[in-house]
């Protein structure tokens, strides 16, 4: 799954640590999501979208695996 968290973070001038604290997860989790190593739960995905005040489709895009 592709995501734009890094872009949204940069737009809001947020560090991974600050975003992680706001969402109640560890910094490694934000890092892993940004790198595409970990797909967040639906709950966390909605939290991220709501935090940036955008729709979930603007944060995450489903990419077909080859």
């Amino acid at each position: 799954m592709k995501n734009r968290i890094k872009v949204l973070r940069a737009m809001h001038d947020l560090t991974q640590d600050a975003l992680a604290q706001q969402l109640g997860v560890t910094r490694q989790t934000i890092l892993a999501i940004e790198k595409g190593k970990y797909d967040p739960s639906l709950d966390l995905a909605f939290k991220i979208a709501r935090y940036f005040n955008v729709s979930i489709e603007e944060v995450f895009a489903y990419a077909e695996t080859p």
């Binding site: 560090t15 991974q16 640590d17 109640g24 997860v25 560890t26 910094r27 490694q28 989790t29 890092l31 892993a32 790198k35 190593k37 970990y38 967040p40 739960s41 709950d43 966390l44």
Partner: protein, 187 residues
């Protein structure tokens, strides 16, 4: 006057590790006492109490960082360990069953204490060259119990295998879910 810290107070993660180390050392000491005085129930009960204490202390960690990703890693590592472990456990149990089924069908009657070979009594002597324990206070177990005790070695070995399997799988899944990825914010 410095304030005392109780186990019921919130504690830091490092304090928990220190407490775990202390409990571990105490368990080793109790194990030694159990062996010396041949009281198997002592270490059994103390071990369970120690684990319960650690669990209560673990719940009091204030800076514990658990989120959905770490839970997923723990679940995956636990399930993978279980899948491999039951194969190993089943295989060794089959080996044990072969020994059991191959034993003579006649019932085993333990010999009276005065006819036991010297080797059995040797096994209950305390460690080192210290004074012996009066034989009246300790009844040495019969052959069957000693063999059952040796089975404990196999069980402990299997538990160690399980532990190392879990650590290995934990590292594998942590890497898979980006535990040690390069991070520009740390540069």
């Amino acid at each position: 006057m410095s304030e005392l810290t109780y186990i019921s107070d919130p504690m830091k993660q490092n304090t928990f590790y220190i407490l775990a180390g202390i409990i571990g050392l105490l368990e080793v000491g109790v194990f030694w006492i159990s062996v010396r005085f041949l009281i198997p129930y002592l270490i059994t009960i103390v071990f369970i109490v120690g684990v319960l204490l650690l669990y209560l202390a673990w719940r009091k960690i204030a800076d514990r960082q658990v989120d959905e990703r770490s839970v997923l890693i723990n679940q995956k590592a636990g399930m993978a360990t279980f899948m491999v472990f039951w194969v190993i456990f089943f295989a060794t149990s089959l080996g044990g069953a072969v020994i059991g089924l191959g034993a003579p069908p006649l019932p085993h009657f333990p010999r009276p204490p005065d006819e036991r070979p010297g080797g059995i009594n040797e096994s209950i002597k305390p460690f080192g060259d210290g004074p012996g324990i009066p034989n009246e206070s300790i009844r040495p177990p019969d052959d069957g119990l000693i063999r059952l005790g040796h089975f404990g070695y196999l069980q402990l070995a299997l538990l160690f295998v399980m532990f190392f399997l879990y650590v290995g799988f934990r590292i594998y899944y942590a890497r898979k879910y980006g535990e040690w990825e390069n991070d520009e914010e740390q540069d």
